[in-house]
């Protein structure tokens, strides 16, 4: 019986209109944690927003470098374009930093190297924040 029931096609969930989740995702991208604040998930938004922004600020204070979208062989392209996308995913903090003139060249040293990873990590964390905000906006999560 249960096997037969599993074969019966379930009705598809009604799709959530794009106007309901796109603004949330854009807000979540622009300001880390703001998507959750917009959805009235204040504590979660404050926690993940502050963690992401702290990650970005430590990256700046360690004088990490932003990736430029250079192309070349496959690995070079993957690292640089991927790193650049991850940097952009931090949202307004990234554009603010570049607009205010932050332009650290990629130099040797473990502190600079960690800084670069912190800057990329902040972007990746913000992608997680955006996905979580999208799940809340579409009703897949509380």
């Amino acid at each position: 019986m249960s096997a037969e029931a599993a074969k019966i096609p379930q009705p598809a969930k009604p799709s959530v209109p794009i106007s309901k989740w796109l603004p949330v995702v854009l807000i979540a991208w622009a300001i880390p944690g703001a998507g959750h604040l917009y959805l009235k998930r204040t504590q979660r938004g404050a926690l993940i927003g502050s963690a992401t922004i702290l990650c970005f600020l430590f990256g700046l204070m360690m004088r990490g470098a932003f990736f430029e979208p250079q192309t070349g062989d496959l690995l070079l392209t993957l690292i640089n374009v991927g790193g650049h996308i991850a940097n952009i995913m931090t949202g307004i903090p990234y554009f603010l930093a570049t607009w205010l003139g932050y332009n650290q060249p990629d130099v040797a040293g473990h502190v600079h190297d960690y800084g670069t990873k912190f800057l990329v990590g902040a972007g990746l964390l913000n992608i997680l924040n955006m996905v979580d905000a999208w799940e809340i906006a579409t009703g897949e999560k509380e």
Partner: protein, 61 residues
């Protein structure tokens, strides 16, 4: 913007902490589960850090 100089260990632990907070918050449904998963992730990061650290030390002699 002040400049900070962290050691390998300090920087790794800080990054582990920040990632664990976000992973804990976004992956679970209740606050208790979030706290447990965040602590679990942080513990895994620390175990990996110490494990790989010792492996590299022993490997280099």
């Amino acid at each position: 913007m002040p400049k900070v100089n962290l050691s390998h260990m300090e920087a790794s632990i800080l990054l582990a902490l920040l990632i664990s907070v976000v992973l804990g918050v976004v992956t679970k449904k209740t606050d208790k589960e979030r706290l447990h998963y965040g602590l679990y992730c942080f513990g895994c990061f620390l175990a990996t850090l110490f494990g790989l650290g010792w492996l590299m030390k022993l490997g280099h002699g």
